[in-house]
């Protein structure tokens, strides 16, 4: 009972934040519903009613798009027809597919935050990880190695590439005090340019394509969890869950994790206690990059199947939102990633069904971050007592003066 109550208290702020953001998103839908609002003069009731019902239609489509129709799933499972089952559960599996990289990058953000580093470079680390995996996979295409071996090597390459891209800002911060927010933002753009550059040549580029996209990697794939047509859900998702467990274990059960957290809260106290604060920065950023890179690797080899410059699609920024929403707890990251995965998948379906653009989601996600980061706002809107979701290491004092 106590556990339930404490869980409820912990969920209150994130829950109300998401709810508030969705309501404001609904307001956005209403005031841009020109078709209905144009009748405001002639028939205000219909105009407003229509606009409001547009919100419900939109969010309804979003929920259906994210979770599917339970009765349909039940019937499909009863008949046992593969195709029916696949169609019925596809919304649900697509939600998990969308959640997979979000878990990886969310964990990446959480681990760097815990160590007092603000990793905004998730996008760059993810895409370079994807590039590393792509290069290895394509290079080994004709090597005759079993595809599972190629898969493992490709994922390993993604981890190394991501870790390297994370290590750079960690190293610069530890050695020169360069603020990681600035360096990771800049490295995101450099990473994008590197990927574009890599996709010029015929080695990676899909033959005859005018767009900078890579050959599609059909000869190597992450094994699916269920073999059904058009179901993309694969073991990458399971690896993501395992990684959440690993990160949790690392942070709270090992001495390295203790050092990371200590350095995150107080670099000087960590130094006085005999820890290497600089080492923790580099380690945390490398781990962070490795996780994001791995997410990129699993996307490009598994669920997406080819590399393009917009592979990430803002995952790095969404990951910041969900890591904050999760209070930087790995278990919370998984839950928040599932929520964001559902929003993403559902949001696309909403776009198709009702014409409400998917991009509304970015706006909603921004509002979620705002509410989570400003519990006072939620407190004054909803008249409830909420506690901050995250005992986030304070960024400002650890930032060296004058680097941003």
């Amino acid at each position: 009972m106590n556990l339930l109550r404490s869980l409820a208290r912990r969920a209150l702020l994130p829950g109300l934040s998401v709810l508030s953001a969705l309501i404001l998103g609904g307001v956005g839908i209403i005031i841009t519903d020109f078709d209905h609002l144009s009748q405001l003069g002639s028939d205000p009731l219909v105009a407003i009613g229509g606009a409001v019902s547009g919100v419900f239609n939109g969010y309804g489509a979003m929920i259906a798009g994210a979770f599917g129709d339970p009765s349909r799933i039940a019937t499909a499972l009863q008949t046992g027809n593969e195709r029916d089952i696949a169609t019925a559960i596809r919304p649900l599996t697509e939600t998990l597919v969308a959640a997979m990289p979000l878990i990886f990058v969310g964990l990446a953000v959480a681990i760097s935050f815990r160590a007092g580093m603000f990793n905004i470079g998730g996008d760059g680390q993810l895409i370079l990880g994807a590039l590393g995996a792509t290069i290895v996979a394509i290079a080994l295409q004709t090597s005759g190695l079993p595809s599972l071996v190629i898969l493992v090597l490709a994922i390993a390459a993604s981890v190394v590439a991501g870790a390297l891209w994370g290590f750079i800002p960690g190293f610069l911060k530890a050695r020169t005090g360069a603020h990681e927010v600035i360096t990771t933002i800049m490295l995101n753009y450099v990473a994008a340019q590197i990927v574009l550059f890599a996709l010029i040549g015929p080695f990676l580029r899909q033959a005859g394509s005018s767009q900078p996209i890579s050959k599609s990697m059909t000869w190597v794939d992450v094994p699916p969890i269920v073999t059904l047509p058009a179901i993309r859900l694969d073991w990458g998702f399971v690896v993501a869950l395992v990684m959440a467990g690993v990160v949790s274990w690392l942070l709270f059960k090992t001495t390295k994790g203790f050092e990371l957290r200590a350095a995150g809260f107080s670099p000087t106290a960590a130094r006085y206690a005999g820890m290497s604060a600089g080492g923790s920065m580099m380690l945390a950023m490398s781990l962070s990059g490795a996780l994001a890179g791995m997410g990129g690797g699993f996307m490009v080899i598994g669920t997406v199947g080819q590399l393009s410059n917009d592979l990430s699609g803002g995952i790095g920024f969404n990951a910041i939102a969900l890591a904050l929403l999760a209070g930087l707890r790995p278990s919370g990251v998984v839950l928040a990633a599932l929520l964001f995965g559902a929003l993403t998948t559902g949001g696309k379906e909403m776009g198709i069904q009702t014409g409400i653009p998917f991009d509304l989601l970015f706006f909603i996600i921004a509002l979620v971050i705002m509410f989570v980061a400003a519990p006072g706002l939620i407190r004054s809107i909803w008249r409830v007592r909420v506690k901050p979701a995250a005992d986030v290491p304070s960024m400002a004092p650890s930032a060296p003066a004058g680097t941003v």
Binding site: V181, L187, V190, I194, D359, M370, V392
Partner: protein, 444 residues
Amino acid sequence: MTTTAAPGGEGVSATTTSARPHHEGLAARRALRNARIRGAVFLAIGVYAFYLASSAFSTPASFLFRFFNTGQERFEIATSVGLLWLVSGLASALVGGLQLWRGAAFRWRPWLFVVIAPIVVAVFGALLDGTTANFTNVLRGSLELATPLTLGAMAGILSERSGMLNIALNGKMLVGACVSVIVGSVVLRFTGNVIVSTTIAIAAAMAVSGVLGLLLAWLGIRYKVDQIIAGTVINIGALGITNFLFLRVLGRNPEFNTPPTVAAMQLPILSDLPVVGPILFSLRPYVYIALVMMVVLTYFIYRTRWGLRLRASGEKPAAAGTVGINVIRIRYQALLLAGLICGLAGSYLPLATAGSFQMDMVAGKGFIALAAMIFGAWHPIGAFGAALVFGFADSAQALLSVLGVAVPPQLLNSVPYVITIVVVAGVVGRVRGPASAGQPYEQG
């Protein structure tokens, strides 16, 4: 030191512990050592440029300049890449020599431009590899492309000088761009007047961005939201809302996406000057506004009461607070102004270049503006210089791709980002920003 100061100076050394002369001695020695290293680096760059020159005299480098805005008269500087490297080498060696000669007293930062400018031209010449380039267009392009960056950097300087980190420049510019297009299109439709609609469009863009600036301040001050998180909120939110508006409103109703455009303006008399007229005095009004703003801001930040208080708020807010300065009000003012400038910068993109709004049309320029601010050491003039370098990279890249010169555009596109990383890492010499930027201030 002036004569009145002299007794004071004597008094200091007479009344304090021996720590003082000691302190001065070591700090000076360290400054001298740094100065020597810096001088050696400049000299090394010079020597390397001479080396590059030795093998490049046979490669011609020719730059065309238009004489006048009208007519076909051209003025060509035909030289060789080798000569350009030679000039670069001389400039760098000169600055290195000055540095070594003058020691720690040498104010080297402004001279950096003397080193960088010829190198940039030489690299450009080397990349052209014999192809003739229209330099008038490149330079015009540099100034034009530097304009939104300059304006963005000014906004960044205002907020960070007040003590508020501002990574939200990008988002505010994006919203400014979108608002200017919608308002401009509507007003143009109703009035048919380009000047009126442009003015109202820009004013609206500034107003909305200004509100976003206040939102950023409000989150950071009232709710103590980490300023980086608050900036991220605005960046993501701006992307989401403008994409949403584009897809839901502008895409379906093109009448909302046909704004007035701002054409280049020929300044009377000055634009008729040969060579420099077409380059400097026939640009869009935005460029002149940005330059005027640079001068005005420099004056305000360094010469006025408000500027003194602004800098105090960013350096040591507690010191300002205890003498009765309302630090929080100053921060709100600074972020409001920064927002207004961001709106102006954002409106440049659709009104001056693209002619319509497109999704994510700011494309990271807000972050490059942030980079220019840092590269320019939080000084308006420095930031303009940095923006000019970035603008030149952009402009040269555009020309090279038109000419079909085989240089990957990705390389030049990366220049601002890489330079920024190098600068914040303190490789060229550490720049120091406002000491208290990013830290919330508690007013009693």
